[in-house]
């Protein structure tokens, strides 16, 4: 089946199996390996990307459902001026260890602070509660997202 999916600003036209999951389309068809896969039951959130500016677990969606839509992955975070503040926040606050949950956490985190730049710690915790991190105990992830909220332009230190 032919699809046209815009990923990180580029249109990709592919002929794919209708049952292919979006996460596999991103990883296998496009070779964008920053989006991870971690469970069979849509519980872990390592696969979170944006579809039309909303975070989505890309394992819950068929690639064909993204036909004609815009997808943004972790590879699309860094801009011409360097790392996105959310990426800097994760470095600054030690918000990652093994790095496996990190792309999904950053995609959700970026969206949360876009929606609400004054987001509270509790709201961040609620906002990422559909995603699992086994390494960090979440405290530094919460702080990383807050750091990004407080530094909308990022900082030069880790850019």
């Amino acid at each position: 089946m032919d699809v046209t999916i815009n990923v990180n600003g580029t249109d990709y036209i592919r002929d794919i199996e209708p049952r292919m999951l979006l996460v596999h389309f991103i990883r296998e068809e496009l070779g964008l390996r920053g989006t991870h896969w971690g469970c069979d039951t849509s519980n872990c959130g390592t696969c979170v990307v944006w579809v039309d500016d909303e975070p989505v677990k890309s394992c819950t969606m068929l690639a064909v459902m993204a036909d004609g839509h815009r997808v943004k992955t972790v590879e699309g975070l860094e801009g011409p001026d360097g790392l996105d503040p959310i990426q800097q926040g994760f470095i600054e606050c030690h918000g990652l260890q093994c790095g496996f949950c990190t792309p999904g956490m950053m995609m959700t985190g970026r969206w949360l602070i876009d929606k609400n730049p004054d987001i509270s710690e509790e709201e961040i915790r609620e906002g990422i509660s559909g995603q699992i991190c086994r390494c960090t105990g979440y405290k530094n992830i919460v702080e990383a997202i807050r750091w990004a909220a407080e530094h909308p332009k990022g900082s030069e230190v880790t850019a």
Binding site: R19, R27, G34, D40, L83, H94, C98, V142
Partner: protein, 815 residues
């Protein structure tokens, strides 16, 4: 030494030595440029998928793979019969169908005669893509004859219990280790029994007995296990990209399992997405990807699903511990005895040093000073997945720490004494170190009371007790739980410890290039611990080379020296020590070269960070960078000094290190629903010298979340027929940001006297110490209902049941 002196700051803003520093590895991870095994793609690569047993115990009558083989895109289907047909040097069984476990037992790669747990590997399909491989699994017809399943360890030795390991000619489900033992003991059996009997007869003493279950849990790293194997048919070279915490140990195991020459095996562990012990062992899936590549001549990738990960790979715990503690009525502990029934699943795959088959359970005596202790651990086979390595830390320390900390709280309840007071009365005193425990371990250093008082002060212990009393009067239930743990980590001294005959020392190699930039090659394997940063800091501390000028290389057996890998918090205590030792070798050599260049005697030189200078004439000096260039240049070197500035070392630790800590958890329990809310969690750790405090604290945070998960949520349960009830993240519940509180951390610093930089290791401390703090807090909260103990996980249902006076048993499915 109580604190580390401030390190100077490099041009890039990093400490030249110890101190918090942003991690080097983060740069690739935040860009989505990590390289995990599933990210490895080779030209012509095929994909494997495993057909697994739906039964816990069943005879295989027949396997028909013809429909799968005919399916378009399928390249090969491998069964146990195929493996039996592949000969192998008879070193460890004469065919590929079986492989050795880390405990000298055997494990089926693919089942031939019977399946022995639900999820066991039965057939392997290799196809052009992973969807097709999965499709073809449906087309394999297996005829099973179900047998009765042994799911309750307590019934495993019943005469009527079905025999699981008939392949070994067994007539019951006992486990015999490589030394011929059917159970493992340590401590003083007679003295302990006498002390307990005496206490029972003495009106001034109490004896408390409690059965404590540490249920089966799973480490569940976010990245599941997998591998990509390519055996080059021309050169005979096997390259295996794999999710391994111990690449060098794996290389040797593959040499033994596959009969391949070890110099033709290269194991690459690229980035590993969390391990926690789950990635220590060699799994059938890895071996099958190797076999698949041999059979097809192509690279073969195998990545497990989450349900495969939870159902078939290394679990943790499953320890039934029956403990007895004797004490005076004033609260002085006299003796502890524990009888353990250990459920090892269908194949004995625990990773214990040969000489310590009960593993590090020997540390069950805890952090207290008393003369008599004894443990007996009896392992049995059941129809559950094998393993037992896993989940930071299951050299059985976590079980031991939980056991003693729960038992001490039971004693406090019996005595009507505050659990903090009881602990303070019995803690080992600073002047008693090195302290030999009743089981023969020698704790290196500690200031236990100081650490405990700091935790109590941070949490505001006395005020909390007052608040608790007021709340109770109002019918509200809050609880305060304390855990004081000591771990033995950094396995281990070669004379005492090995895995499969491999001594637990670690090699390391340091190369200082002509321009003064360096490469450090490690045998250990990060899974998120930040080795690329921490190890650069150790070298920086010893040599004064800025950490940004030091590249840390790991995870590739062709490019690193031999060592046993990262688990049991052993990287810093063993390989971290090796990093300091190898740096000091370079420093010593640099001294000789500097002396030659400065035309003085090496004895006239003194070291200050980054340079050798003439005593009393500090301007006559050579920096380490200058010396690096000189060592590669034309300078006439003294007799016996070779050129270049490289060194290697193998570090054999003289003893374990003993990090410890005091954790205090405050919970609120809703007696109507059994819901537990963690209000606060204070953790004071003493792991000796902190190389990178930011990373240390991150390690602690992660372990605390593990502890909360195990205490309140996580359980791999089974029903009577052997169906795994924890096989997905829908059923195996892990803590999220909502269940975890905002951790409050404190520290004391008591360096290890025998470690070159005084560091003790910390990766697993919080996982070891935190479950007891949470459980003790919950039991404390509901103690007005007469509850003295309830087993983990303390889900709302289990807490509610305990409040109703119903015993909680978690090793079987909840009826």
């Amino acid at each position: 030494m109580t604190a580390v002196e401030e390190a100077p700051i490099s041009a890039a803003g990093n400490p030249i030595g110890f101190g918090s520093m942003k991690r080097k590895e983060d740069q690739r991870f935040v860009r989505g440029q990590g390289n995990y095994v599933d990210d490895v793609n080779l030209p012509g690569m095929l994909h494997g998928a495993i057909l697994r047993s739906p039964h816990a115990h069943a005879k295989i009558l027949s396997i028909d793979t013809s429909r799968a083989e005919a399916h378009p895109g399928v390249v090969a289907v491998i069964t146990g019969k195929t493996l039996e047909g592949i000969p192998r040097p008879a070193l460890l069984g004469d065919n590929f169908a079986w492989m050795p476990t880390l405990s000298y037992d055997t494990q089926a790669v693919l089942a031939t005669d019977k399946v022995r747990f639900q999820g066991q590997e039965v057939a392997f399909v290799i196809a052009t893509d992973r969807y097709t491989a999965k499709d073809a699994l449906e087309l394999i017809d297996v005829d099973y004859e179900p047998l009765g399943a042994v799911m309750d360890a307590k019934k495993a030795m019943d005469p009527s219990a079905p025999v699981i390991r008939d392949d070994k000619g067994q007539t019951d489900n006992s486990i015999t280790d490589v030394l011929g033992n059917k159970y493992w003991e340590s401590g003083n059996a007679i003295g302990t029994q006498e002390a307990i009997d005496k206490a029972k007869a003495d009106p001034n003493c109490v004896v408390v007995t409690q059965e404590i279950m540490y249920p089966r849990v799973h480490p569940a790293p976010m990245e599941t296990c997998g591998s990509v194997a390519y055996l080059d048919p021309v050169s005979g070279q096997l390259t295996l990209w794999t999710t391994s915490q111990a690449p060098h140990a794996h290389r040797t195991v593959y040499a033994l399992v596959a009969g391949l020459p070890e110099h033709k095996i290269r194991i690459i562990s690229p980035d590993v997405g969390g391990g926690f012990g789950n990635k220590v062992g060699v799994y059938p899936g890895y071996v099958l990807s190797v076999v698949g590549s041999i059979v097809t001549g192509k690279p073969v990738k195998w990545m497990e699903d989450r349900s495969e990960n939870l159902m078939s790979t290394s679990f943790a715990r499953d320890y039934h511990m029956n403990g007895t503690i004797a004490a005076t009525k004033e609260g002085k502990i006299l003796a502890v005895d524990v009888d353990v029934l250990a459920d090892h699943g269908a194949f004995n795959g625990v990773a214990q040093p040969t000489k310590f088959p009960a593993g590090f359970f020997h540390i069950f005596t805890g952090s207290y000073d008393y003369p008599n202790a004894h443990c007996k651990v009896t392992p049995v086979y059941t129809n559950k997945a094998p393993g037992g390595v896993a989940y930071a830390c299951s050299f059985r320390i976590t079980e031991a720490a939980y056991f003693i900390e729960r038992l001490v709280d039971c004693l406090a309840a019996e005595l009507g004494m505050d659990p903090a007071e009881l602990r303070l009365k019995n803690l080992i005193k600073p002047e008693q170190f090195p302290y030999e425990t009743p089981t023969g371990w020698v704790y290196d250093s500690g200031q236990y009371e100081k650490t405990m008082r700091l935790a109590m002060e941070m949490v505001g212990y006395d005020e909390l007790r007052k608040e608790q009393a007021e709340k109770r009067a109002r019918g509200e239930y809050m609880g305060i739980g304390i855990s004081f743990f000591t771990e033995g980590v950094g396995a281990g001294p070669r004379k005492d410890m090995d895995i499969l005959g491999l001594g637990m020392a670690d090699g390391i190699e340091l190369r200082v290039h002509p321009t003064g930039k360096a490469q450090l090659r490690l045998s250990v394997q990060t899974q998120g611990q930040g080795h690329e940063t921490t190890y650069a800091q150790i070298v920086a501390h010893e040599l004064g080379i800025p950490p940004e000028d030091i590249e840390v290389i790991h995870g590739d057996t062709d490019n690193t020296p031999f060592g046993l890998g990262t688990y049991g918090s052993r990287s810093t205590p063993v390989s971290g020590a090796a990093a300091a030792v190898v740096s000091r070798k370079v420093r010593d050599k640099a001294r000789l070269i500097a002396a030659a260049a400065l035309e003085c005697s090496p004895d006239d030189l003194e070291w200050s960070l980054g340079k050798w200078s003439v005593k009393g004439d500090p301007d006559r000096a050579k920096t380490i960078q200058e010396i690096a260039l000189l060592s590669h240049g034309s300078l006439e070197l003294p007799e016996g000094v070779e050129g270049h500035l490289d060194a290697t070392a193998v570090y054999n630790p003289p003893n374990l290190t003993y990090p410890y800590g005091c954790y205090i958890c405050v919970v609120d329990v809703d007696p109507g629903t059994g819901q537990v809310k963690i209000r606060r969690f204070v953790a004071v750790d003493d792991c000796g010298t902190r190389i990178n405090p930011m990373i240390v604290e991150g390690q602690v945070h992660g372990g605390l979340a593990d502890g909360v998960g195990m205490a309140l949520m996580e359980l791999i349960a089974f029903d009577e027929d052997g169906n795994c009830l924890g096989g997905s993240f829908m059923d195996y519940l892990l803590p999220t940001a909502v269940e975890c509180p905002d951790w409050e951390l404190g520290e004391t610093v008591t360096p290890s006297p025998h470690h070159p930089i005084g560091a003790k290791g910390v990766g697993e401390s919080a996982t070891v110490g935190s479950p007891a703090a949470v459980v003790n807090a919950v039991i404390d909260a509901i103690s007005p209902f007469g509850v003295r103990h309830a087993d983990m996980p303390l889900t709302p249902a289990n807490v509610w049941r305990a409040i109703q006076g119903n015993p909680v048993r978690v090793d079987m499915a909840v009826e």
